[in-house]
């Protein structure tokens, strides 16, 4: 072997090893994140954590019960608003739509998807907080629903399109009309994918912080309605993390662990259900 060939072989080995190293580094970040969260947060998890209100720094026994409930509230309302709109838009894109209209809707959905979440927050603020002169969970829910809509629309569309044409034609040939075909045949056929798309979307918005910062704001107490400022898990994590108190930091870790566990579980579940079918939308 010539010197030149030896050099090529060395370069080959070095570069391919570097690529393997890159893969190792990137994959391990997930475990590093999980590791730190577990290490720092698990000791603060307790029954109190899930049920009590936060206490001032220095006092023990506080919890994030209001943040957990608040998050659930805000996400629930956002889901109620956003899922149906996203779902029907997805049906529109897959089953109806002339060329230009469908193209426009799809383009706008992608546009909406790409808008930074903080800008969505500004919009919700202008539309609800400003006229009402106060912060509210509703504003937060609106912001989150606006993020949920394009995610749901695109994933619903994708899974509907995967239903084979022959199923549609079979139903129509039996005399069913279009909406019955969609409702009774196509959507049920695609339901696994559609549902997991929805789960992933909801998981995504439950972790969002920025759109809530000046819509639902925050609340040290249990919130009593959707027109009140409401605390939420992500917002609590943020404020606790940037605060100067150690016990607040502890709570941030614990809350982070809870949030991440929920989000990851939803994602893993969804991907396992899907893995027998097609791949996920981006």
């Amino acid at each position: 072997m010539t010197v030149r060939d030896k050099r090529r072989k060395t370069v080959n080995f070095v570069m391919l090893s570097l690529c393997a190293l890159c893969a190792l580094i990137t994959v391990s970040t997930l475990f590093v994140i999980l590791g730190f969260l577990v290490y720092n947060g698990v000791t603060s998890l307790s029954f109190d954590f899930f049920t009590k209100l936060p206490k001032p720094p220095g006092q023990t026994g506080g919890g994030m019960g209001n943040a957990i409930v608040g998050s659930a509230q805000i996400v629930l309302v956002a889901t109620v608003i956003g899922l149906p709109i996203g779902f029907f838009t997805g049906i529109y894109l897959a089953e109806y739509g002339g060329k230009t209209m469908a193209f426009l809707v799809r383009y706008v959905a992608d546009l909406l998807n790409g808008i930074p979440s903080i800008v969505i927050g500004i919009f919700a603020w202008t539309v609800i907080v400003v006229p009402q002169h106060h912060f509210s969970a509703l504003a937060g829910s609106l912001a989150l629903s606006l993020m949920l809509i394009p995610i749901t629309a695109r994933s619903t569309e994708q899974f509907l399109l995967e239903v084979p044409r022959s199923m549609r034609e079979g139903s129509l040939a039996l005399g069913a009309n279009k909406w019955r075909t969609i409702a009774r045949v196509i959507v049920p056929a695609a339901r696994k994918g559609i549902m997991t798309g929805m789960i992933l979307g909801v998981a995504r918005i439950s972790g969002e912080t920025a759109p809530l910062l000046f819509t639902s704001l925050n609340n040290q107490y249990w919130s009593t309605g959707i027109s009140e400022p409401t605390s939420s898990l992500p917002v609590m994590i943020f404020y606790r993390a940037v605060s100067p108190y150690d016990d607040f930091h502890q709570q941030a870790w614990a809350a982070g662990l809870v949030l991440l566990a929920l989000v990851l579980l939803a994602n893993i579940l969804a991907r396992m259900v899907i893995s027998r079918g097609a791949s996920l939308p981006r």
């Binding site: 570097l18 893969a23 994140i33 969260l37 500004i122 539309v127 005399g175 981006r282």
Partner: protein
């Protein structure tokens, strides 16, 4: 559309008409929902425009170039935030593109199918981690790491360069760039890996048959073939980095100035909105923040548009090349 002649067994015309009516209603319902997306998006643009008007009227285009951000004197300029946003995103890509493409190469060319799929699945899970959690980690683990090890090392080696000079705090542009890089890994890796897997086997074999090593065939034949897809992934990652709020807010240092050193604290558009929106008093202040939101909106539209273009070009070129 149902035809009455196909209604077997229930050929009554009134049934057919009812069915056809049901279709029309369904169509309208679905259309309304779909159209609402267009309406809402238009509303977003409209509201951003309207609520930024005091600032826009007062500063005009100089808003974009002015370095001054002073709530006390009601002077607002966007430049420090544009600078911080672009700089941190650029740093993020600088780190994550080589790492991500390298990992994608491993996953598509070297790892066997099952391992590759499992690892890709794990990497894609990273995309689901909420931004505030990245921020949480960054504050307590990344900042000390940067402050105690990475930044001093860089300063020792390259401190003569202005970008590596100055006091080290641990937070700042570079740290924000690093956490953003980690957040963009999954986009680069996932999309690049698919672009690489889509390269036909014959391209690799053509290079290998000429006596190329595996690396040479990957670098010279496979990567160029996949370059559009990889570029698309970069734009996707860039779009994500530009709009990223929480993680950056938590480590950038919140300094509305323009600094050459990467170790210096800075600010990004999303971070200043997140921090100051609820504190803003006066319509000029608030509208300046809204105008910043408008600028960010415009930036991400452009980048996302480019990413879409790349993806369209890749699919079209792929089918043309097959011939």
């Amino acid at each position: 559309m149902a035809t009455s002649s196909a209604a077997i067994g229930t050929g009554a015309p009134h049934v057919a008409r009812r069915r056809a009516g049901g279709d029309e209603v369904a169509y309208l319902v679905v259309l309304v929902f779909a159209a609402s997306i267009i309406v809402v998006t238009a509303a977003i643009v409209w509201q951003l425009w309207v609520h930024s008007s005091p600032a826009r009227e007062k500063f005009g285009f100089s808003f974009l170039s002015s370095k001054l951000w002073n709530p006390v004197t009601d002077q607002f300029g966007a430049w420090p935030f544009i600078y911080g946003t672009v700089l941190t995103s650029f740093l993020a890509l600088l780190i994550s593109v080589p790492l991500g493409v390298g990992a994608a190469i491993y996953l598509s060319e070297l790892a066997e199918a099952k391992l590759s799929n499992t690892l890709t699945f794990l990497v894609e899970l990273l995309a689901a981690v909420p931004s505030v959690i990245y921020g949480l980690l960054a504050i307590f683990t990344l900042i000390p790491l940067m402050r105690d090890y990475v930044d001093p090392a860089l300063q020792n080696a390259l401190g003569f360069l202005p970008i590596f000079s100055g006091h080290i705090y641990g937070l700042g542009y570079l740290t924000a760039g690093v956490i953003l890089a980690i957040m963009t890994f999954p986009f680069i890796i996932s999309v690049s890996r698919e672009a690489l897997l889509a390269v036909p086997r014959e391209q690799r074999e053509a290079a290998l048959a000429l006596g190329a090593t595996k690396w040479e065939s990957t670098f010279d034949a496979v990567l160029p073939f996949a370059r559009l897809g990889i570029l698309g992934s970069v734009f996707l990652a860039l779009a994500r980095a530009l709009g990223e709020t929480m993680a950056v807010t938590m480590v950038i240092g919140n300094d509305p100035g323009v600094h050459a050193s990467l170790f210096a604290p800075g600010y990004s558009i999303a971070a200043v909105i997140a921090n100051e929106f609820t504190e803003a008093t006066g319509s000029t202040y608030l509208s300046a923040l809204v105008e910043l939101g408008l600028v960010l909106f415009a930036l991400t539209i452009v980048i996302n548009g480019l990413a879409q273009l790349m993806i369209i070009l890749t699919t079209r070129k792929g089918s043309a090349k097959g011939g």
